[in-house]
């Protein structure tokens, strides 16, 4: 398979965002995934989110591991630098990249195998450290690229295509992320664009570790009866706790809401999240309650989606490390080298 350039047809009627970019400017090359793969819908949602937020595409760095899901960064943001690293290790590469230049937006894309199986450690530790990033797991419960083996998010009792049952307990990445201190946590479904796009937008605006577990059916290996990650199963069991809208500068004034049913959360950098509550009394800023809610609903067989937790005042790794505001990668020799005089002094102290 070789590179497929996408024909760039300028549609005069294509709308432009605040930066003068059209949706097209956020696209990548044509996907080589299976037709109907959930991952492609997530790519489309990422494109829409970036376009709607008017993000300069070249200021986004997209990083991934290995898998069908990890291939997707080729299919969006064609002008951005991308890094398809090694299996399960995207989080460390993203962490390093983020340390080098705190001014870019970091988008990590991974699979459930990539992040819950081989890369479970790196996933956990990047969350713990509060790396400023949007971390999306395209969760299909299987290893798509190696042809359908169960991953660590496959539910106990779920059946593979040949009818073999998964005996191991599933890792609930959302629960883990909340527990490990992610400061923006959501779950969504690749089949629900209206829910997913705003969640990605909110994550991109979030300062800190933002994690989105997106259930993304693998039509090739995990979309049959007996699967708990199929389109049908997820649609049937999806219970959204809220519906979110990201309010950007332009339409901020038009926000209207009925008190009690809608909650407004202002994030650190000024972005507003408008949440229409679907589950009574669900408070997205209450971490302990969120964990409790998730466990209770999971026991009932529900797949809870929506914005599950947010700490609008979060800080990030740079804040914890007290690094300088200026990106490391643009520091001059003078800022980095202590010079010969300092060395002479040091020599003198070592005699």
């Amino acid at each position: 398979m070789t590179y497929l350039p996408k024909p760039k047809l300028a549609h005069p009627e294509l709308q432009k965002n605040d930066l003068g970019f059209t949706r097209r400017d956020y696209e990548g090359s044509i996907s080589t995934l299976c037709a109907g793969c959930g991952h492609d819908s997530i790519s489309a949602a990422i494109i829409r989110a970036c376009y709607e937020l008017s993000l300069p595409p070249h200021r986004i760095a997209k990083l991934s591991g290995i898998g069908c899901s990890s291939k997707t960064p080729t299919y969006f943001l064609g002008n951005s630098h991308g890094f398809n690293s090694v299996h399960g290790r995207m989080p460390s590469v993203l962490t390093g990249a983020n340390l080098a230049n705190r001014e870019l937006i970091y988008l990590g894309v991974s699979g459930d195998g990539d992040s819950a199986s081989i890369g479970f450690g790196q996933f956990s530790h990047s969350i713990r450290r509060g790396v400023n990033m949007t971390y999306i797991v395209e969760n299909n419960g299987v290893y798509g690229l190696t042809k359908g083996q169960f991953s660590a998010t496959a539910d106990r009792g779920a059946k593979n295509k040949r009818g073999v049952e998964n005996m191991d307990e599933a890792i609930d990445m959302v629960g883990i992320a909340i527990q490990l201190g992610a400061t923006y946590v959501a779950r969504s479904f690749s089949g629900d664009k209206n829910q997913l796009v705003p969640l990605i937008k909110g994550a991109l605006q979030h300062q800190g570790a933002a994690f989105i577990d997106t259930i993304s059916p693998c039509v090739m290996f995990n979309n049959h009866d007996g699967s708990t990650k199929s389109y049908d199963y997820v649609r049937e069991h999806n219970e959204a706790v809220n519906f979110m809208d990201v309010v950007t500068g332009r339409n901020e004034i038009t926000v209207d809401y009925e008190p009690g049913t809608t909650e407004i959360v202002r994030q650190h950098n000024g972005g507003l999240l408008k949440l229409r509550k679907l589950a009574n009394d669900y408070d997205v800023t209450d971490r302990v309650a969120a964990m409790n809610f998730l466990e209770t609903r999971k026991a009932r067989g529900e797949i809870v989606t929506g914005l599950l937790y947010v700490d609008p005042e979060a800080d990030d790794l740079h804040g914890f490390l007290e690094t300088s505001d200026k990106p490391f990668n643009s520091m001059s020799d003078e800022e980095l080298i202590p010079g010969s005089a300092a060395l002479e002094k040091l020599n003198a102290s070592l005699r």
Binding site: P56, G96, L99, A100, N329, L336, S340, R351
Partner: protein, 622 residues
């Protein structure tokens, strides 16, 4: 045993006591965690301040408290810094290792010990001089707090030894005053303990011993620093801003030293903001991942590790090679394989560093011989990584990394600019310069890269470990893959011209005999060649390797000599393997001289190895 009869040249001794000035080995046998390390270091530093070169070595177990440790000091006015066999003065403070310690003393040597509890005569040797001092009872009589007893006991024995072998007490006092600067009470207490020990010795022990120190002028302006600290300082001067690491002996002190130096040199005086980030990662996979991520994004980054870490990092090292992302790894080698002897030295990661990762890969290595070179190569590695866009290994070992060593003062040329390699800027892209991430435009096989976020519409590309064409576009086309692999080989040739040259020292008369060595073997070589010349009359040309890939000077040396001894500290002659593999020379002429028991290599060992081989060679030639 009373103090008076503690000083015994043992009855019936046939060997006269060793007489030496500024040329002997003192070894302290201690218990790990007993606070002896700083006392021993004080002792070494005092000798240095007297202008006498001394080379200490820590021999320690993989343990925190309780197991035996040794601190061995080679004192040599001639400046020999390699380890030497045999001990002239054993300071035996550890009953656990008594037998072994007594055995290691040279005939005619000296034993200093704590005779608070009497030992039967069978515990001694007739051919050594035994000096007993009731250290414990003496200290306990003077101090009642247990912690003080432990600390001052150490200073008391330093005081006693200063009288026995003639260390200027003023020098020790000054060192203690510097060490506890601003804490006057502590200084006074230490000075007091020092003189208690000293006075006791002067009154009760056979001062002076046959081993004596005399003020000298052989230290010069050299400094005393360990290789790990010097390497870390090199990283600071080389502009490293990101350090990601996972603790492992013997490399941890490198990352710790980097932290210390950064606190001092890279913290904004007003805001306290840091021009560096240090992350203690969850494992070595994450360490190297962070390094690669940071370097991909234009920061200079490194990790410090040892053999087991290299094994874990291998997959990422291959990515760095193939996707051409800079990275620096300091590998402070220890004895492998597996956990091996984690606190003993070896040069056994040469092969894995040179060829780490699956597929066809090779990586440049820098091989420092001492702390000064650790500093130089630490800084240089950052430039080379950016220039060559690949992983650069700085290969130290425990012997250089964790021991303080006399070394030339560190120098920095303020006109030196960091070489950030081929990075295309927004202006160049804007001006229409062609950008192909893997395109060889300059003929040196090094392509240009861009930092993420450089330009709104030009210079973006996708980095991947899968194959791609010159414009970074994914492809599985065999010819594009092969072109790329061949360019990487050509880049390897470019690297040969950028690495530090091997250093050749020729014998006075022409010879077809040569010796090749590298790293911590260095200080033992000159001494070994003297021994060989004494014993056989033969002299050899020497070549000290400083880097891999080998430059033409290495090829020429191998070409010009008929027999070359390759001296290494591993079992499998790993550097010899590289020489054979890369130079395609005749393996028969490369003779292995291998030392790998975990102790540092000695001149005597090298001389024995070479002489044993040399004699038949010379006989055959005659």
């Amino acid at each position: 045993m009373s103090p008076q009869d503690a000083a015994l040249p043992m009855a019936g001794s046939t060997v006269p006591p060793i007489q030496a000035v500024n040329d002997f080995v003192v070894k302290f046998a201690n218990v790990n965690g007993s606070g002896s390390a700083s006392a021993n270091q004080l002792f070494a530093k005092a000798i240095l301040r007297m202008g006498i070169p001394v080379t200490p070595r820590n021999i320690f177990p993989s343990n925190i408290q309780g197991l035996p440790t040794w601190y061995e000091m080679r004192i040599s006015d001639k400046g020999h810094m390699g380890a030497r066999e045999g001990v002239d003065l054993m300071v035996a403070m550890n009953p656990q290792t008594w037998d072994e310690d007594v055995k290691s003393i040279l005939p005619g040597g000296y034993l200093f010990y704590d005779n608070t509890k009497p030992l039967p005569p069978s515990k001694f040797r007739p051919d050594i001089t035994v000096v007993g001092m009731p250290l414990t009872s003496f200290t306990n009589a003077a101090y009642s707090v247990p912690r003080e007893r432990q600390l001052f006991k150490n200073i008391i024995y330093v005081g006693a030894l200063s009288a026995l072998i003639n260390i200027d007490p003023k020098v020790i006092e000054d060192l203690l005053s510097e060490q506890f600067k601003g804490r006057d009470k502590l200084i006074a207490a230490n000075h007091k303990a020092l003189h208690m020990g000293r006075d006791y010795a002067l009154q009760n022990l056979p001062c002076p011993l046959g081993l004596q120190l005399a003020t000298s002028d052989k230290v010069g302006d050299r400094i005393f620093i360990d290789g790990n600290a010097a390497a870390a300082l090199g990283a600071v001067y080389g502009g490293a801003t990101v350090c990601a690491w996972y603790p492992i002996t013997p490399s941890s002190s490198l990352a710790e030293a980097f932290t210390r130096y950064c606190e001092r040199f890279r913290k904004d005086k007003e805001t306290g903001k840091k021009r560096y980030a240090i992350v203690q990662a969850e494992d070595e996979l994450a360490s190297i991942g962070m390094v690669i991520g940071a370097a991909w994004n234009g920061a200079r980054a490194f990790t410090a590790t040892s053999g087991p870490g290299i094994s874990l990092m291998s997959e990422f090292i291959g990515l760095s090679y193939f996707a051409e992302i800079p990275a620096v790894i300091f590998d402070v080698q220890r004895s492998g394989p597996s956990t091996g002897m984690p606190t003993r030295t070896q040069q056994s990661d040469i092969k894995i560093c040179a060829y780490a990762s699956h597929g066809d890969t090779k990586h440049p290595l820098l091989l420092p011989e001492d702390p000064n070179e650790c500093f130089q190569f630490g800084a240089l590695s950052m430039d080379l990584a950016d220039r060559l866009q690949t992983t650069i290994f700085v290969v130290l070992d425990l012997e250089i990394g964790m021991n303080e060593r006399l070394t030339a003062p560190l120098k920095w040329d303020d006109t030196r600019k960091l070489d950030r390699g081929k990075v295309m800027t927004a202006e160049e892209l804007q001006a229409g310069k062609v950008f192909g991430r893997y395109l060889d435009v300059d003929g040196d096989a090094i392509p240009y890269r861009t930092y993420p976020g450089t330009h709104p519409s030009k210079g973006g590309y996708f980095t991947r470990g899968t194959s791609r064409d010159e414009y970074a576009r994914y492809t599985e086309a065999g010819d594009a893959y092969q072109r790329n692999m061949e360019r990487l080989l050509k880049k390897w040739d470019t690297a040969k011209g950028l690495m530090p040259k091997a250093i050749r020292t020729d014998a006075a008369a022409p010879t077809k005999l040569g010796v090749i060595y590298y790293g911590s073997t260095s200080p033992a070589i000159a001494e070994a060649l003297d021994l060989i010349a004494e014993q056989t009359g033969a002299s050899l040309n020497q070549l000290r390797l400083r880097a891999f890939p080998f430059g033409p000077e290495v090829e020429a040396f191998v070409e010009e000599h008929d027999t070359i001894y390759v001296v290494e500290q591993n079992r499998d002659a790993q550097m010899r393997m590289l020489l054979i593999n890369e130079l395609e020379c005749n393996p028969k002429k490369l003779i292995r001289v291998l030392h790998y028991n975990g102790a540092p290599i000695t001149a005597e060992f090298i001389a024995r190895g070479i002489t044993a081989h040399l004699n038949p060679v010379r006989e055959a030639a005659e």
